[in-house]
């Protein structure tokens, strides 16, 4: 198993390098940062001088090499927009996005799995059809529309929840958390719900699809013949067998959580990395964008690794196969 881990970590390094290279070739299509860094009165000569100073007129390969060399020793350069070290900005914004995504995914699983099980077991009950229909509405409305509607109802009309921001935040070392204050929880409810809606629907439908198939298998029939309780059969035997594809897709969907986080954070002004990235794209803040993509690339490799490991933990057959076939 250790060899497998080392192998995957090496691969993740390659992935992050590939991400950085593609990101850099991308940046000269996104626009020219100099425009945003200087006012309308700065002369052309000054702009050229600034471009030279930032090394933007070097070839892409040179810029990439410089970036990787610096990144290797933890220096992600200075943000063009905020004139501050990128590393520092990311450390400030990481906890916000992490907490939002964590609460959203937890909410999606906590609601999605039971609903998936229920609709899987009682396929034709009216409640199942209701749940299936309702969940679809959540998916088909765009995130930004759902967000705004929630704000309209709960902030403007009812005034229960704050319409933006993260509420009071408690600093523990460099990590800032909103989960320790009531105000923080009030602020996270709406963004997390908006983010969770899409995931919940997907998880529910997947669990339903898998559950329906698993409930038809012989070992479930035999379990029933042995007089095991419904609860043991549904939540024990059946659920565990449905989990393999669900875990793969949920792990995968963490990606779309990050993609949707960009939109959700913009709508709720959530000070996370998504908001930072969108502003960096419109400002063409190359160091910030490059650092973000590298981080997300690394994050995905870790998520995929965890998903593969989870699958092995859950499905012993994979474990044995791994030894025999040496799966990459």
């Amino acid at each position: 198993m250790l060899a497998f881990l080392i192998e995957r970590l090496l691969q993740s390094a390659v992935v992050m390098l590939a991400v950085a290279l593609i990101a850099f070739t991308l940046f000269n299509y996104v626009g020219d940062p100099i425009e945003n860094m200087v006012g309308q009165d700065t002369t052309i000569a000054e702009r050229q001088q600034l471009r030279h100073e930032l090394g933007l007129d070097d070839s892409v390969v040179v810029q990439f090499a410089r970036f990787v060399a610096d990144a290797a020793c933890g220096d992600f350069g200075i943000s063009y927009q905020q004139q501050r070290p990128v590393g520092q900005i990311i450390l400030e914004r990481l906890p916000a996005t992490f907490e939002l995504s964590f609460v959203a995914v937890a909410m999606a699983i906590a609601l999605g799995v039971p609903m998936g099980i229920y609709t899987g077991i009682h396929r034709h009950s009216w409640l199942s059809h209701g749940l299936m229909g309702l969940s679809l509405v959540g998916v088909s409305l765009p995130t930004f529309l759902v967000g705004i509607l929630l704000i309209l109802v709960f902030s403007v009309d009812l005034g229960w929840l704050p319409s933006f921001g993260r509420g009071t935040v408690v600093h523990i070392g460099w990590w800032s958390t909103g989960l320790l204050t009531l105000d923080g929880w009030r602020a996270i409810i709406m963004p997390a719900t908006t983010l969770a809606l899409f995931q919940m629907t997907l998880i529910m439908r997947l669990v339903r699809a898998e559950m329906t198939e698993v409930l038809r298998t012989d070992y479930i029939k035999f379990a029933r013949a042995r007089g095991l309780s419904n609860r043991a059969i549904h939540f024990g035997h059946a659920l565990k067998n449905s989990l393999v594809p669900v875990i793969t897709i949920t792990g995968l969907q963490l990606g779309s959580v990050i993609a949707f986080a960009i939109i959700t954070e913009t709508v709720f002004q959530w000070p996370g990395m998504g908001l930072m990235f969108i502003q960096a794209v419109s400002f063409v803040d190359i160091p910030v964008m490059a650092a973000y993509l590298m981080l997300v690339g690394g994050f995905f490799v870790v998520v995929n690794l965890v998903v593969d490991l989870l699958n092995h933990v859950i499905d012993p057959r994979l474990r044995v196969d791994r030894v025999r076939v040496g799966i990459g």
């Binding site: 590939a18 088909s140 198939e213 779309s256 960009i262």
Partner: protein, 331 residues
Amino acid sequence: MSSIRDCGLTACGWALADLVAPAAAGRPGALLRRIFDSDLWWSFRRSPVTVAAAIVAFVLIASSLLAPWIAPHDPFNLASLNLLDAEHPPAWLAGGSWRFPLGTDQEGRDMLSAILYGSRLSLLVGFPAVLVSMVLGVTLGLVAGWRGGLIDTVIMRVADVELSFPAILVALLIDGVARGVLPRGIHNEIASYVVIAAIALSFWVHYARTVRASTLVERDKEYIQAARVIGVRPAKILFGHLLPNVIGPVLVVATINLALAILTEATLSFLGVGLPPTRPSLGTLIRNGNDYLMSGDWWISLFPGAALAALILSVNLLGDWLRDAFNPKLR
């Protein structure tokens, strides 16, 4: 158990063959009778929800594809727009007029026609994007799961790289290249292909990962080894025997990705890399309308939103029925 799965293909193969065979024999009348007599139609008729979904989907898709003929106005013909009729409320509200049954948007486009034209654009981008990403993703997933070893590693690591680029950035890249290479005029024509490519390139990964996971499990099942033993070509095994047994979750992801594709197109259009602003798609209508929610012009955003919701709802419900109907194990 394995025997049941083995006939997975034959069952749905049978259903299809059952439908097609007589037509091939040159008796179309028989085909119709065959259809209405087959098991599929029977299971279709039995669930009212699916029938309703099918009707809604048919009406929406048909009306959007026939938009040029049935829409009261042509929202893409800029000369016909008159700025002074901007932001009319729906006809039944005060200040509304029946010339614009669902009101007009901020540029004077009639909402009803804009929704019809817009959903046509969204469908012409959404469906192909999902199809391309599904075909690409499933194929690579099967190959990765089946061969294992180096190929599997390469495909999965390419997937990781792909995953870390949100669709927005992929579109920026493709758009930038397209804009650089192609002269200005042509760019607008291929704008929709750029968007389809961008969405497909960032969605195939979903299918690839799912199919790979399932393939790993199915690969050692007896019905696959049986097929191998009797010398069936690997491609036939993959697509003939293995695919039907992993298609369940893929269909779930596909129907939901349709919604995602349409919304991603809207985000790309906003960033100026999607479809040209003068020809708004359904997603773009919703996004533009979004800024007007606060100003009381709720219809600019809500009507297209409702249209999109109905479309996705019906397509997904149909998807559910189709998956259950074609899955012999559930019959």
